[in-house]
Assembly symmetry: C2
Homo-oligomer: 106 residues x 2
DNA sequence: ACGGTATTTCCAGAATTACAGAAATAAAGA
DNA sequence: TCTTTATTTCTGTAATTCTGGAAATACCGT
């Protein structure tokens, strides 16, 4: 992962509302969560939610699948793992801190 | 770590210039790096660097120690570890992804 | 105290972001 | 096709961020 991509993803997560959105999606697991449910759960304007979701989708942290009229959002675990891996690599680039083990995807 | 704190820290890292600054400091290891050397290395205006550094210091990711007229900056490894730990916890809150091992500080 | 180096603060302009109401679009069912 | 539900796009406003030049401050050596 390139530095600029990592920065863009960190920035996307670096907003309380978006971090809450992302957290909700992570906790929703593989089945994901519909935009409408997210809106009800987080109690923010639909347009605001849509913008934030777009930010997360653009950087790849969230994917969406349509199920009829509802759009289901999913956290992209693999990309999150990559991002954490990047941070760890940066952090440990010169043995400056203890090694961190990120598991392979099962 | 609270969600708002995590978001603030992610936001601080979520800018290419600041991520470069942070990476440089991480790679500088325990001895850190002076503001002036950072400026020469990254080739940005002193005032701009100072602003970005302040953002990193405010959220705790960077600490500074004075050595005469020069200010030496250090990456706060412990806090970074905590931040990564927070992300991992969020990510794995409901067993939604494989466990990630973050080492204890030696 | 003075001079020099290191760094920050002040200031301002350009660009971006956050937010939400209103209108537009997408999809499904009657 | 018409209606309803779900979601996005459009639009505008207020606030924030990024940037760097100029001036101010901090510290050291003499």
């Amino acid at each position: 992962m390139k530095l600029d991509d990592a920065a863009a993803r960190l920035e996307a997560l670096g907003n309380p509302t978006r971090l809450k959105i992302y957290r909700s999606l992570v906790r929703a697991g593989a089945e994901g969560m519909a935009v409408g449910r997210l809106q009800a759960k987080l109690d923010i304007a639909a347009s605001t939610l849509s913008h934030h979701l777009k930010s997360l989708v653009v950087v790849g942290l969230v994917t969406q699948t349509r199920d009829g009229t509802t759009l289901v959002c999913h956290a992209n675990y693999d990309l999150m793992r990559d991002l954490l891996g990047y941070m760890v690599e940066e952090c440990c680039a010169e043995g400056s801190c203890a090694p961190v083990v990120l598991p392979k995807v099962a």
